[in-house]
């Protein structure tokens, strides 16, 4: 009986492990197949301080997708660090520009949260490794 319980515990642990491998690391960015998203930063690569991020949204037929709301979020890799936020404005058809003040050296993740005019939401993340002052 004890052996069976031990087996159950091990099986449950194994299940959690496999399940997390399959699901936990495959977080969907939520990008719609109808909309493509490209982004760039200025300066490139980003540096400590205020960085400008430009997001371009294009549709299935390469047309620009306007009228979306694009918000930016910068997170450090360590828990407990204050995230930074910004809003991007549409500066041209389907082109959105906003700034983030990345204040500390290290690894950052910039998240682009996009709400299309039809209410559909997309998320995309940009990894910045080893952000430096110069």
């Amino acid at each position: 009986m004890a052996r069976n319980r031990l087996f159950d515990v091990l099986a449950a642990t194994l299940f959690l492990f496999v399940n997390s491998q399959l699901n936990g690391c495959a977080k969907s960015s939520g990008v719609s197949s109808d909309v493509d998203l490209t982004y760039e930063s200025d300066p490139r690569p980003p540096r400590i301080g205020v960085n400008t991020f430009t997001v371009t949204l294009t549709g299935r037929n390469r047309e620009r997708v306007g009228g979306a709301r694009v918000s930016l979020e910068g997170d450090m890799s360590h828990a407990g660090m204050r995230p930074v936020f910004g809003e991007a404005k549409e500066v041209g058809p389907g082109r959105y520009q906003g700034t983030l003040d990345l204040g500390m050296r290290g690894d950052w993740t910039v998240l682009f949260h996009i709400t299309l005019a039809n209410g559909q939401t997309l998320d995309r993340e940009m990894k910045i490794q080893n952000l430096q002052a110069t």
């Binding site: 997170d75 995230p83 490794q129």
Partner: protein, 508 residues
């Protein structure tokens, strides 16, 4: 019942004995802690939090600042742990959720073996402590919810396996790296579980505090915290455990190896065990024979733990400031390697072996040469290594306190987000602007912790020097004071380095 300055006939003279406060005499807290189910009541919430944390770590957001596993473990748990150790005692071990699960498992699995004699020391746990520090840096545990969750799962599994096979609290005493951290840090805590009146113990014939109480009442035994029979020949069941860590209260000195489980409090038929105030670090200034431990000065394994604890504090903080990356890149070029592991291995060797060997060896040699101490270099180094514990603890406090205070409120938006993912919406939109105290307020606290540790180390060194070289204590004091100054300055320097949180050490 407690009295001023009472010492046991077996206890050493503790310097600067202060009027004693007994936590168990405090109205509500004391009554709760004396209740035999208090430990379980404290463990259950922590177990629930652990399970939630593990699940969120496995299936929640992959970004560390947004996941309960990383936020709770690396911001709140670590910070709260060191602050409670500083202000009270080893209360995390009291509320340890791993032991709650173990106690349940022991209702099914009966441990049959005694812990191997060759491993009845701290060497294994010291190695595991170093392994955890190493994997923390190598796998950037602080940035990975998944790995953090796996660490917690591994911990639960290890407890179940070790204590499922071996009797008593083998995991706590000989394996658990967190426990060893707590044990050595709690030598600086202001509270200690100890006897109230030595004379009462002198008259005691049952010694329940170490032996526990056995009986035939099967129902009661089943309801007890640990219902296994423990293989006693009379077929009696344990009604109340005695100390599982082999600490015999009348001869127990200090907090080393004490999990604050309060089994001795519950077991004592004379209500003669309290949680009593004492001068923090006083147990580091003396070297009596300690129940379940022996002499500190003869325990190279505990000295190694003290060294890893003290120098590991600097190493752990060093891993998060800019110079470490320059050093790693330089070492990578010298060693012609692109993988982080060998480079980290060299850094760990330098910080945890070479640096302590040089500093402690030189100071011990000078203590002999200048102070005329008759002890050999290694025993001197072992004896004085305990004096570095306050400095190390100051650095742990500064480091973990920084994350705790600057990230204290991040638990709010992370919990909000976690709850909203299962359809529970609390307090509106996630308050991501809630973080904690500004760095400018926290930095003076960090310096205060380091200064406190520095003062504590100097105090211990001075006391040891007076005992070693009564005629010329300053000559024995100065070399060790120089070591303390060196480590103290290194700690302050580290605190003022620009923080840099990178998971990609070699690539950048």
């Amino acid at each position: 019942m407690s009295s001023l300055g009472t010492t046991s006939s077996n206890s050493p003279t503790v310097p600067m004995e202060a009027p004693r406060f007994d936590l168990l005499r405090v109205t509500i807290i004391g009554r709760f802690l004396r209740w035999r189910h208090s430990r379980t009541v404290l463990q259950i919430p922590l177990l629930v939090v652990s399970v939630v944390m593990i699940l969120h770590g496995l299936v929640g957001p992959t970004l560390a600042p947004k996941n309960l596993a990383t936020v709770l473990t690396w911001v709140h748990f670590r910070g709260a742990l060191v602050l409670v150790l500083l202000c009270a005692g080893n209360f995390f071990c009291l509320a340890c959720p791993f032991l709650f699960l173990r106690n349940i498992a022991r209702r099914v699995f009966r441990p049959r073996f005694n812990w191997p004699r060759v491993l009845r020391n701290k060497w294994l746990s010291v190695v595991l402590f170093v392994v955890i520090l190493f994997t923390y840096e190598l796998f950037d545990l602080w940035s990975s919810p998944w790995w953090t969750a796996m660490l917690a799962i591994t911990y639960f599994a290890a407890v179940l396996v070790v204590d499922g096979l071996f009797k008593h609290a083998s995991f706590c005493k000989f394996v658990c790296p967190i426990g060893q951290f707590n044990f050595i840090a709690s030598t600086l805590s202001p509270l200690e579980v100890k006897v109230r009146e030595a004379k009462v113990c002198d008259r005691c014939t049952t010694k329940d505090c170490i032996r526990g109480r056995r009986g035939v009442a099967v129902e009661q035994a089943t309801a007890s915290a640990d219902g296994h029979t423990f293989g006693n020949t009379a077929g009696l069941v344990i009604l109340q455990r005695g100390c599982e860590l082999a600490l015999f209260q009348p001869r127990k000195v200090g907090n080393m190896d004490c999990t604050f489980c309060l089994d001795c409090v519950h077991a004592c038929p004379h209500d003669n065990v309290g949680v009593i105030s004492r001068l923090p670090a006083s147990e580091l200034m003396i070297d009596p024979i300690r129940s379940g431990i022996g002499y500190f000065s003869r325990r190279k394994d505990i000295a190694a733990l003290a060294i890893v604890f003290s120098f590991g504090a600097l190493l752990n903080a060093f891993g998060m400031v800019s110079p470490v990356y320059a050093l790693e890149a330089w070492l990578g070029r010298i060693l012609s390697v692109s993988h982080e592991a060998p480079v980290l291995g060299v850094i760990f060797l330098a910080f945890l072996v070479l640096e302590p060997a040089i500093l402690l060896g030189a100071a011990a040699w000078m203590t002999r040469a200048l102070g005329g101490s008759k002890s050999a270099v290694v025993p001197l180094a072992v004896r004085y290594s305990y004096a570095l514990v306050p400095l190390g603890f100051g650095m742990w406090l500064a480091h973990y306190g920084f994350h705790f205070f600057t990230g204290l409120l991040t638990i709010v938006p992370v919990t909000q987000t976690a709850l909203s993912s299962i359809g529970v919406h609390l307090l509106g939109a996630a308050q991501w602007t809630w973080t904690g105290l500004p760095t400018r307020f926290v930095q003076p606290m960090e310096l205060g912790f380091i200064a406190l540790g520095f003062a504590g180390s100097l105090l211990v060194v001075h006391h040891l020097a007076e005992e070693d070289c009564a005629s010329q204590p300053m000559r024995a004091f100065l070399p060790w004071a120089a070591v303390c100054v060196f480590i103290g300055l290194a700690s302050v320097w580290l605190m003022f380095q620009p923080m840099e949180m990178r998971a990609t050490l070699m690539g950048g």
